[in-house]
Amino acid sequence: MPAPANRFDALVIGGGHNGLVAAAYLARGGKKVCVLERRPVLGGASVTEEIYPGFKFSVFSYVVSLLRPEIIRDLDLPSHGLQILPLESTVTPMDNGDYLAGWADWDETRRELVRHSPRDAEAMVEFGRLMQHMAMAVKPILGMVPPDPASMAPSDLMGLLKLGGHFRSLGAERFHALYKLMTMSSADYLDEWYEFDTLKATKSASGIIGTFLGPRSPGSAYVLLHHYMGEIDGAFRAWGFQKGGTGAISEAIANAARAHGCEIRTDASVERVLVNGETATGVVLTNGDELRAPIVISGLDPRLTFTRLLDPRQLPTDLVDGVSRYKFRGSSGKVNLALSGLPEFAALKHDKDLMARAARGAFSISPSMEYLERAYDDAKYGQFSRNPYMDIVIPSMIDPGMAPPGKHVMSVFVQYAPHNITGGWDDAKRDAFGNAVIKTIARYAPNIESLILHKQVITPADIERITGLTEGNIFQGELALHQLFFLRPVPAWAKYRTPLRGYWQCGAGTHPGGGIMGASGRLAALEILGQ
């Protein structure tokens, strides 16, 4: 029998944000909870690390928007350190030397767009309104445990009826718009609204982030919508930085959990889940320690949850088959730069004030639809994109504490870097990938190379090695229609339960999944608490 110090009501495997949210809710519900994190640092893919002296990086996930407001409220996260600093703009440098800017201020964005296309400036108003309606239409689904359409259980039938009622309440027009978003490509969807190519490319970029799809691939419009679901202070489609980096979000959730009496252990790597018959009874750590609890929750992705922490032979074959065909396919990489000064974007050089303002926001390397699509074509055939899509932010501009005075940190999210690159990732390929990224940035910000003090290049293989995320997929599995809602991660096991009594899943590989959202962790905890 393990010592009393190792006996709990619930164990959470993985101290990523979903695991922490689940732990906090369970602790708040009166359970004695312990979180076990393999790494010395909490947060999973939302971590802040000082990888170069004096420079702090949100190493993986770098912006936030999707974190559910009810979680912020329930866990009182602001008092535990959550502080979101709004991201004020997105600037896309164009190949003709001009630029396209989108600002936090709606009117300013419209004036800017008029410069490129008066028709699009007009369409933007209605598009924004529709997307807000769509985000609201999806909101109740995000907060819902997915009913199983093949089940005859009263709770499932009620769930299906409720869902049907919800769709009917949208009315035909909005339901059709939602249906289109679920099935179309972001390029086709945006083509119905806009004409200006750079605008369409920049907007469609939201539809490819974290997926192995191009803007012309059906299904990418849903990913676009997924990125519109975010709310900050009730305002949809607002993205921001956490003060101190995304690791500080994890810390805030951890603090909330601790305040409810939850214990959190780092450097505690779980070897496997202990099973007695068909019931989970605890875990054993790689150091041999055993911890016991009647509830064991995995925040890891479905492959690790079912086939690494357990012996797959303990599971029904259809579940194991389902997990083996579940698509991860990491497609994104990250380059983190420590800079001796602020890079200068050629398109904004003529206007120092504009450059200074833009540097507080994001730069999107998405000059045209064809540029993005060709980046995808490279990846389809097993190469990283020679000319990749990038989302670039300079957090030290908004949060000066991230870098020494006068110096900066730059976070570059890059697509596509396929996990299954031909021949596998190695150091030479990582270098080549990093160089392609810098070379592409230099096309728009020529002085970048002279400013680099330190460069961290992260491939999907690195994401997997460091965070454990299978194939480096940042969403714990693609947000594709056949892997959503009652199909996430596999049919019949989409309600956070597993075939083992007492063993639960709460990671982004369950509904609704993806981004620093926390909804999976919350819904799993509420299911466990029977609410």
Binding site: A150, E173, K180, P218, G219, K380, A480, H482
Partner: protein, 508 residues
């Protein structure tokens, strides 16, 4: 002459719609622009003495259509034949229907063992679509009990499939055929064969979501992959039989008559105006022309709400299939009785599709070909044969400008090169080659962008989204105007499927 209804287009849909209306006592005239009936099932004489149909798919007549319009004159339907796929070395591999022993064991014994289960399961899925295709699509705001009850029965039937089939049906439909094939098969050749069927008449390649739906769509009414049954009496026998039924009920059919305009007064149709200046009065018009041509070409814009006009212009037709008809001296192998897919890998298919994304013709196109004269010798002079090749991807609108003679020549060369891989000395046997680019198909068959689908069969353009969201019930916003072609539910390849549902909607 006074008619109750005008039907535009004498393809299977138009003829079935006309016969249905006439069966309820309506006086109907069918107007066909071409000199013969049959739409794209009609065989065209592409060089003296050689005739070929455009489509290599027999299509499927739903039982509800056969009951309403008994087309027994089409003759018996031929026994299923297997389709073939060409291997890398040019040999032809048979894709058997259901449980017959597959002969691709040498490529993969595992896949050969899985094949019967795959075709059986997907035939069950196709049967669900087949049921659905005989009902008007329900929308989210459907409230009429008469509409909901049959669908509820269908829903129950889907649930009766059992948990495994039902969740698999829902899971698979939005998938890409590449993902599905990778999950299911190991042989690249088998994957390529399945993928080729799934990208039929789409601009997308096998990695695009929703291609699985297209695969199952073309399996409706078939016993397996690519095995719909042709009528013994000819490629256009179904159309001829439908016309005969219609004529027996008093339907008048006029060919070589081009409709210039659907005439409207006070938001209601009054008939049609012809290009020769004649006008025909009728309070019902069923158009089987594609939705863009019907609503943006034949109706004057002032009668259409701009929002609806916009939705119609947003329909994705994306014609990207070209056709080459060859007159040859040599008889092709028996395998060519059914379409042979000449692409041996999914990567080749995907690369062929990539070109179309950028408005270019595929460097190495996907080609399927068959020889209708093996089935119907009368299509060619004695001892001669025809070979018809479908080619993807040839975008309707090339980035480089209108289709030029050079483009057409280059297209034909690519197709001939692909065929030569499986038919040695093919080039020597060719007497004549006739290329139909999507532009030519548009001109000759009257379908916008040369898209025989009348709207790509992608998830966002099916059921209640077809032809445009909110207008999936055949009645168009102008009173008395109905859409009854492939551009309406259930779409292409379902012979008379849209026609009968449009006629029934018009009779209400």
């Amino acid at each position: 002459m006074i008619y109750d209804a005008v039907v535009i287009g004498a393809g299977p849909n138009g003829l079935v719609a006309a016969a249905t209306l006439a069966g309820r006592g309506k006086r109907v005239v069918v107007l066909e622009a071409a000199d013969a009936i049959g739409g794209h099932t009609r065989a065209i004489e592409f060089t003296p003495g050689f005739r070929a149909p455009l489509s290599d798919d027999a299509g499927w007549i739903p039982p509800s259509v056969m009951r309403e319009v008994p087309m027994t004159a089409a003759g018996p339907f031929m026994v299923n034949t297997s389709a073939y796929v060409a291997a890398q070395d040019g040999s032809l591999i048979r894709l058997p229907v259901r449980s017959e022993g597959p002969d691709f064991t040498r490529h993969s014994a595992r896949d050969a063992a899985k094949w019967p289960e795959f075709t059986a399961r997907f035939s069950r899925f196709a049967a669900i679509l087949g049921r659905m295709y005989q009902l008007p699509p329900a929308d989210i705001d459907t409230t009429s009990l008469g509409d909901i009850l049959p669908l509820a029965a269908l829903g129950l039937q889907v649930r009766m499939l059992g948990r495994a089939d039902m969740t698999e049906f829902l899971r698979v439909m939005p998938m890409s055929v590449q993902d599905f094939a990778d999950d299911t098969f190991e042989s690249e050749l088998v994957k390529a064969a399945v993928a080729a069927a799934a990208v039929r008449d789409l601009r997308q390649g096998p990695r695009s979501g929703g291609t699985m739906y297209n695969l199952v769509h073309y399996m409706a009414g078939a016993a397996g992959l690519r095995s719909r049954q042709w009528a013994l009496n000819g490629p256009d026998a179904v159309s001829l039989a439908a016309a005969a039924v219609g004529k027996g009920r008093g339907v008048e059919i006029q060919t070589g008559v081009r409709v210039a305009r659907i005439t409207v007064r006070n938001d209601a149709v009054t008939g049609v105006a012809l290009e020769n200046g004649d006008e025909i009065s009728a309070r019902l018009v069923i158009s089987t022309a594609d939705p863009k041509r019907t609503l943006l070409g034949l109706v004057e814009p002032q009668w259409l709400d701009p929002e609806i006009g916009l939705a119609v212009s947003n329909i994705k037709l994306r014609g990207c299939t070209a056709c080459v008809m060859y007159a040859t001296d040599a008889a092709p192998a028996d395998a060519f009785k059914a379409p042979v897919s000449l692409t041996s890998s999914t990567v080749a298919l995907e690369k062929a599709a990539d070109a179309a994304k950028y408005g270019e013709m595929s460097a190495e196109p996907h080609v399927e070909c068959w020889s209708p004269s093996l089935r119907w010798p009368s299509l060619a002079p004695a001892g001669k044969h025809i070979l018809v090749a479908r080619m993807q991807y040839a975008p309707y609108a090339l980035k480089s400008g209108p289709w030029s003679t050079t483009d057409v020549t280059s297209l034909e060369k690519k197709v001939a090169a692909a065929i030569s891989r499986v038919i040695p000395r093919f080039a020597e046997s060719v007497r004549h080659a006739h290329v139909l680019t999507p532009k030519d198909i548009e001109t000759r068959f009257g379908v916008t962008e040369g898209a025989l689908t009348q709207g790509e069969m992608m998830l966002d353009q099916i059921m209640f989204m077809r032809p445009i969201p909110g207008w999936g019930r055949y009645a168009m916003p102008i009173r008395g105007l109905f859409l009854g072609g492939a551009g309406a539910h259930p779409g292409p390849g379902i012979l008379g499927g849209a026609g009968i549902l449009a006629a029934r909607a018009a009779l209400k």
